[in-house]
Amino acid sequence: MMGRSAMDKPSHSTSNSDDAFKTELLSLVPYLRAFARSLSGRHEGADDLAQETLVKAWQSRSSYLPGTNLKAWLFTILRNQFYSERRRAWRQEPWDSEKAANLHSYSESQTAAAELSDIARALQALPNEQREALILVGAGGFAYEEAAKIINCAVGTVKSRVARGRRALMAILDGDEQLPMSDRPPEGEAAREILSQLDRLTPNHGGDKRR
């Protein structure tokens, strides 16, 4: 039995609840890694960030309110950790677009992989506040209210940041702004690719394409 009683006092002495807390932490590691990697745009360092978050979370476990959203609590820690750390070190590293292309491991087709690495790269070109809002809401599936708590801003602010972020991302991907890379396919190609994706996605297009 390892269910935590709902009214656990924040006490360090109950190793039972510590174990349960640890189990919960472990179950959320995949999300921490995803948030760390999306936020930082780097493969290296992202897992370190996620691990530091776990340590911090463990040390501050008495301040976590049982029954509240643990994932959001962890994300808040990770976010703070990221920005304070980046001020220190990551800023010095130059952006490496080749590394960026390998940020995410894909099980999708090559085409989808290329699209994804474009998105990952474009995401890094956004202002911090738009990027994090887009990651939390658009990728992580947080409600605006939850994202607002993590970011520590008003709900309306998150909404407008997500909207602006989406537009900016589209502008970058559509080539209105330059990505830090040279081998993007020409406009027409991208458009055709997208249209053919639609054909695959739209059910009533069925199997027969007429061209």
Binding site: H12, K22, L25, L26, V29, P30, Y31, R33, A34, F35, R37, S38, D47, A50, Q51, L54, V55, W58, Q59, S60, H104, S105, Y106, S107, E108, A112, E115, L116, D118, I119, A120, L123, L134, I135, G138, A139, G140, G141, R166, L169, M170, L173, D174, A191, I194, L195, Q197, L198, L201
Partner: protein, 60 residues
């Protein structure tokens, strides 16, 4: 080049698709990491975290 009864222009259709594709891309990017197997270091970290729970001992 003729569309029978498409009220949407290619451009509008393209824009909508773009939005959807980007939304999906964002989720796939994130989910791709979520579904990766968790490296052993995380398990190790949580195991040994017991031994050094002293908040004053910060890594340097």
């Amino acid at each position: 080049m003729s569309k029978d009864k498409a009220p949407m222009t290619d451009k509008a259709r393209y824009a909508r698709l773009r939005r959807e594709a980007i939304g999906q891309g964002l989720r796939r990017m994130y989910d791709g990491v979520v579904h990766e197997p968790v490296p052993d270091e995380f398990m190790d970290l949580l195991k040994k975290i017991d031994e050094s729970t002293d908040p004053e001992r910060s890594p340097s």
